[in-house]
Amino acid sequence: MAILNNPALAGAAQFDTIIYGASPLAYPAPLIQYAIYNTPDPAYVTGRINVSAFANLGGGAAWPFLNTNVPLNGHVCIPRGRGPFPLAMFAHGNHNPLENSTPGYLYLCQLLASHGIIAATIDVNFLNGFNFGENDGRAIVHLEHLKQFRTWNNTATHPLHGKVDLNRILIVGHSRGGEGVGHASFFNRLASVGGVTLDGSGPFLLGPYRFGLTAVAAIAPTDRQFTPVSGPTVVPDHYYIIHGSKDSDVFDFQGYHTYERAHVVDLANPTVSDGKFKAMLWVHKANHNQFNSIWASETPVGVAMPRASQEEVAKVHLGALAQAVLLDRAEYLEVLRDHGAAVAWDPAGTEFVSQYQDPERVFVQHNQEGLGAPIVSLPVQGTVAADGVVAARQLTALVAGVTTTITLRLAWSALGARLLLRVDPSTLPAERYKTLTLRVGQSTEANNAANRDQDFTLEVSSGSHTAAIPASCLHRLLYPDPPPFGPAKIMMQTLRLPIERLVDCGVDPTDLRSIALVFDRRSTGTLYVGDLQCSN
């Protein structure tokens, strides 16, 4: 594997930071900080858009415009050079509209621009307030900003002409903006939303979009404050989510439901993948507001990690995502696959739980067939036997809210218990994949010792040869970090056991006959398990 450089370190590219904005507006005194958008770079004067089909203006501020003509304001860091450069675009979430949330991601824009990415952060403050259900509007604003950059890219006389790589776009949203980017990913492929055409025609003149969105990243997002007529939004693009255990705003990690809905197994065609990955990073001691450099911390001093550390985490992991998906440095996907790849760059002592699902996979046991006894999932054939362990498929609320993903709960009370999956080797082509993967997490139930890592042995056999690998050799299974309030979340950690390592132990991946979870390392425990698969 190529040696990775810390993606949080500035790159060599020089860049310019400019403001773009609509024609001057008479912001009243409480909103005077938005007057910076009245003097955009002369080449970057934008228009207004009509979002009235989706949203009213937020309350609590006397905006000098209506929802029929909101401005396209933002900050953009533009690398010097000929390009074309990929584009990353950040959107903030809900916050006091009297404080401009937009510059709060400049620290990330500057990092990405230094690596040759055009990076913008957009003004959606006019939707902020004590509102509900406006996140479709946030998505439309995000897409209209992308459209503005496409217009500039296609305008022969504009400084950005030919400089924007419209097939390499990353949209990032925080909080309600994080929910918004999921909707934007969904809307991007639609001709209309809720009866509103997105083809540039009247009366609202929105769209067309159909951008080459490469990936969608959500920072501490909300979920389902807006729900399309077709049902909860399923993100169709590569999806990345990051959330902090000390988040005291979106304290229930509802974005995990967005993550769970994305790129699920198709029960009718379980071997067919939509070709997209998803990845999750759960950051112990990170809170909600410190991902935005403007927002004051919402937690008392000492509850969350220092702001500088939290921003560093964001730079490392969103930087790695951008390197991987926008700059074709696929080696940085390793950070998504395993947060341990970033241990030298993350603030010392920071604990994480991460998940990764590769688009290339075959499930051995995904559990989504129903709430019956656990089985081996088709097309793999085999049997499941529990010895000394209570194995039950459950719709367990790993985080708060309505759960739709079935998880396998395993509870044992004596050493030596095991869950054994015997498989027909002719139905499991393990040799075609790089890893044997599953996700596992512990709860705060009484048979898990408080503040102690859980552990077990993963036993994989091809008949005469067996490999026995402690889970703790792959990753720690952390005890849940106490939340600010509410129940602790059960965060499953993806464990990736390289097939190569099995081969080194003498296991023949072409003849893989059994996979067992052997509970020989803790005398009691409860674990939640999902998505046992061969994967890349």
């Binding site: 009235s52 089909a53 989706f54 949203a55 009213n56 203006l57 937020g58 309350g59 609590g60 209506l66 929802n67 029929t68 979430g93 809900n94 916050h95 006091n96 509209p97 902020n128 307030g129 004590f130 509102n131 509900f132 259900g133 406006e134 909080s175 309600r176 809720g194 009866g195 509103v196 009366p203 609202f204 501490a220 909300t222 389902r224 404050q225 807006f226 729900t227 399309p228 007529v229 005291s248 705003d249 979106v250 304290f251 229930d252 509802q254 909600h288 937690t299 008392p300 509850v303 708060a400 809210g401 309505v402 600010p484 309030f485 509410g486």
Partner: protein, 139 residues
């Protein structure tokens, strides 16, 4: 730290409003969907809240009985939402207003949805807002 407490509603009023362009488009679409000719009169349901909670990303979803109000907006004294189909009031008049953050746990506000007064003098609409219709919340 304490979890956020649900907002306290002090009064609920219903006013007829003048339709915005977005309202008109939505009423036309709703009329087509329901095969009924709906009046060009949106109703604004004003929900007075005191004190107003801080602005956060977590939201208190508002329900009339078990019907989610899909969108609401802030104004000086609280929040408001728009009803485009008067049948909504026929179906839900007198039903309790409830808040929930997760769709699982609900908090009854002690207030009920009133009926609208006769739409004799529409007030100026605040623009596009929630459009509950007969028996269900809709986009």
């Amino acid at each position: 730290m304490q979890p956020p407490a649900p907002p306290k509603i002090t009064a609920v009023e219903v006013e007829a409003a003048q339709p915005t362009e977005a309202d008109s488009v939505a009423i036309a679409r709703l009329s087509a969907e329901t095969s009924r000719s709906l009046p060009q009169i949106p109703y604004t349901v004003k929900v007075r809240i005191k004190p107003k909670p801080p602005v956060t990303s977590m939201a208190w979803a508002l329900y009339v009985d078990d019907v989610l109000i899909p969108k609401y907006w802030e104004y000086e004294d609280g929040i408001y939402f728009t009803v485009l189909d008067p049948q909504f009031f026929s179906d839900h008049k007198g039903k309790p207003l409830r808040f929930s953050q997760n769709g699982v746990d609900f908090f009854d506000t002690g207030m009920k949805l009133p009926a609208p007064t006769a739409p004799t003098a529409p007030s100026k609409s605040k623009g596009k807002a929630a459009r509950p219709s007969k028996g269900r919340a809709r986009r």
